[in-house]
Structures are given as C-alpha cells and as structure tokens.
Amino acid sequence: MAAATAGRGRRLRRLERPAISGVLVREVINFSSYWRSATFSSTVEPTIYLLAFGFGFGSLVSRVGGYEYVEFVGTGTVATAVLFSSAFPAMFGTFVKYQFQRTYDAILAAPVDTEELVTAEALWIATRAGVYGCVPMLVAMVFGLDPAWGMLAVPFIAWISGFGWACFGIAVAGRAKSIENFSYIVSAVLTPLFLVAGTFFPISQLPHWAQVLAQLNPLHHTVELVRHAAFGWAGWIDFARVGFLVLFGLLMWRIAIRAMVGKLVD
C-alpha cells in the first residue's frame, strides 16, 4: 500500500501536496480541541483596543485623516488582529511543538521535509489570521462602520499579511534559545511596528524619518490596504502595497525554512 504511493525509482519532489496536506490535517484536527481559546485571544484583544481607543480617544477627536475615528480605528485594528493571530501563535506554537511536545520530531520521521512542514504551518496560521483579522471590522460595523463591497478583499489582505507574520514568528522561534528570548522581539520589534503602523493615529503626524521607516512596516501597508478596501481604493499604490506584502511573505518564508532546518536537522 505504502509502496504504491512512494514506489522505488519515483523521485519525490520538494513541497509535495500530500506532505503539506498531512500537516494541515493535523492542525485542523488539533484546532477542534483548542479553537475556543484561540478564537478568544485572537478576537477579544483587538476588540478591546477598538473599544478603548474608539470611545476613549474618539471622544477627544471626532475625525482623523478624513474618517470618523471609530471607522479609522475599526479598520486599523484589522492589522492588529492579524499580528496577534499570526506572529504570536507562530512564535509560541512553533517553540512548544519542537521543544516541549516534540511534535516536529514525529512529523519529520514521516515523509515530510522541514520545508513542507514550515510551509504548511504558515499556510494554516495565515488562514486563521485571514478569518480572525476580519473580527475588528465586523465589531466596528456594529458601532457605525458602513459595509462596502471592497471589504470582501479584507480576508485576502489579512491572509497575505498573516502569512508573512506567521513565517516571521516561525523564524524567531527557530532562532530562539529559550522562550524568554521572545521578549526581545516583542519589545524591540513587534511593539514599535504595531504602534507606528497608522492604526491609532495617522503616520503623517510623525517626523519625516519615521514616516519613511513606516513604509518598510508591513503592518502599515496592511492598515492602508484595509482602509482603502473599506473606503475606496487608491490605484497603483495599493498594488505596490500588495506587492510589498507578497515580497515580505516570500522573504520571511525562506528565512523561516532556513531557521527551522537549522533547528530541526542536526
């Protein structure tokens, strides 16, 4: 039976679908045992940001960057939800799976290579981010954000961004010596990127150098794309932003694979 599926002489390729779908099946079956907590943390946190900033800050300023403040934050926190449901689970989940549960040892003993494992894990996390990313926008609709056809693009924007952040998280986990190392990444990388993404205030308020740097921030492009999806596209510059997110994803994907090969294969 097994001989029929992988007979001698047939050279197996890189990135095979059965290997990737096998890892995905494991994640989907596992998800049935923890979906409540994952859904809770991935949706409640950005929703709290939305409510706190939307109503707290929103009582001081009614309009920001030409939008109602609730609309501004409601679309901006989509990027926050994407980050929280991709980079963080990727970092902690990957570390726990290779260090404590030794899940990856079991998977790599099967006909699955590290490249396929990392790809499947990132695809899975990206898909979750694509779904969870929409939650703040849906909550904002309750508080007055008007639905628009362009919003149908939001899950895809969240997916592309989520894939890059998932790979980023996997790469961090692959390089980390201990789980405590994550504090450096969270404080020095994720928090600044999260704050200067244009989520809570427009980056046009920032000094010029920070505005230039923000153009390298994938979260900023996520925020802008989601706003444009909700309030009207901006033409070629949106294509450039999508292109930037795709490049970010591809780059992080290769870095994550390299980091995990270093971690999992002696």
Binding site: A2, A3, T5, L12, Q101, A106, P111, V112, L264, D266
Partner: protein, 298 residues
Amino acid sequence: MAELAIRLRGAVKRYGAITAVAGLDLDVPEGTCVGLLGPNGAGKSTTMRLLTAQAIADEGELEVLGYRLPQESKQARALCGVVPQLDNLDVTLTVEQNLLVFAHLYRIPRADRRAAVERALELAKLVDRRDTRVDKLSGGMRRRLLIARALVHGPRLVLLDEPTVGLDPQVRQELWALIDALRNEGTSILMSTHYIEEAQRLADTVLIMSHGEAVASGPPSELVSEHAGTDALEVYGGPARLAEVESEAEAVGLRTRRTGTSVAILGVDGANGHGFHGERRPANLEDVFVLLTGEEIG
C-alpha cells in the same frame, strides 16, 4: 545474500568537538531484527536520527531500503515506521485522531485510511479506547499507541529507539510480544536498547556500540560464546577480597568483570573451576556488554 533494509558504511556524525558516531558499519538484512546495544552516549540515538535524515552524516554511505540518504530520505521514510524514545503523541487528541493524523502524514489513500486506523487500533489493543484522549491513557497504553502509530501504514522497516525505557516489567513483556509478532510477519526492525534482556530476546543479531563505533556484532549466543565462554563464576566478598580474586584470575589468564556486588570470572568452562569458589552460572550477553564497553561509564 539477502537484501539489506539498512546499510551503513563508515558513517560519521560530529557535533563540534564531539564525535557521536565514529565510522559505523551497520547491516540490517530484510526481515530480521537487529539490536543496537550500548551504554548511554554510545551513539545509538544519533544513529537513529541519521536513518531518518534528522541528522545529516558528515561522512560515510547510508542506505535505507535501497534509498541513499540524505538525498532520497523522503522515499525511505514513506516505507519506515519510527517509534521515538520520547513520547511525542498529540496529548489533547483521542487515540483514533492520533492514528488518523499519521494515516494522512504517511499518505495512505483515502479509501484505505479507515481500515488502516482500525488495524492499528487492534494491534495496539486500544479498540475500546479509540475515543479516549491520550492524556487520559496509562503509560503502557501510550507506548502501545506510539508503536501502533508507527505501523499504521504497514512499513517495511521499523526503527525502535529504546522502546521499553521506563516501563514496568508487565508492560515491557506486552511490548516484546508486539515486536516479536511484527518480526514474525517479516518486517525488518532496528531496535536500540540498553536493556540486555530485550536485545537477547528479540534480536537476531546484536551490534554492540561504544563511543560511536561497533565493537562487536553477531547473534547473541555467538557473541556470548565468543567473548565470555560458556560459564561464569560469581565470587562474592568485600572490596579487598574482590580485588584479590581479580588479580588471581588474571594470573591464570582468565577474564573478569565486576557486577557491583561480586566479581564474575569468565570462561571457567567444564568442571574445572581453577580453584575458585563461587556460584557457577551460564555466561550471558551482559558479560559481553561489560567486557566490551568497559566497567565504568565514561
């Protein structure tokens, strides 16, 4: 000559300054069970990792089921089952879900998946526990599931890394029966262990490893007669007396080994006890093991 399920020639694996596997030659003929015996740190687990390409050899030729490693490792892994030393089951999933996940990972066609899971459940005697979460199983059941998971796709070669470590004797016997049944069906097996009785009972051939090298190999009974003779004499006494016995035995050309509480004088064949008084017993694989791998753990 029978086909080889595993063929290693001069396999070397270094970790920085440490050489974990130092030019190992290893043959596992198809349909046989080979026991890899050695003290902790002898390189058994590293050898196992080399065979699944989770460690890449620095030197040497490695073949598993005719596939060259590491290039063709994925093909080889599709036909192998691996039972790891450390339990890595998904503990929040049920018994059946764990098997189902591996039925997917081992690419069993959709139409055969159900039957494969059922067969594995029966093999592990866990049919009644199919819906039990793994973290609710006893240690013995978890081990059986870990073995069944490696057999779900009907592998031609099974790698068992210390399959019964840390289990009580009843559970160990249960697993031995399982492994023996597997061997009788013609599955090739490589089993690392530091339990001598386990190797003696299950292995057709034993390879004794020390410091990353093979120091002896052969059927257990041949290894015993070649290295330790037929009979041993256990002489008891205080430390001073034991040291004395050792030098007296050496003087008449007999080999000895410490057992902790006694000195075993080896090769006291026939009726002649060379004038020593003690308890006579048949020589065993443990004598060979200690003779070849040293009395002290390095």
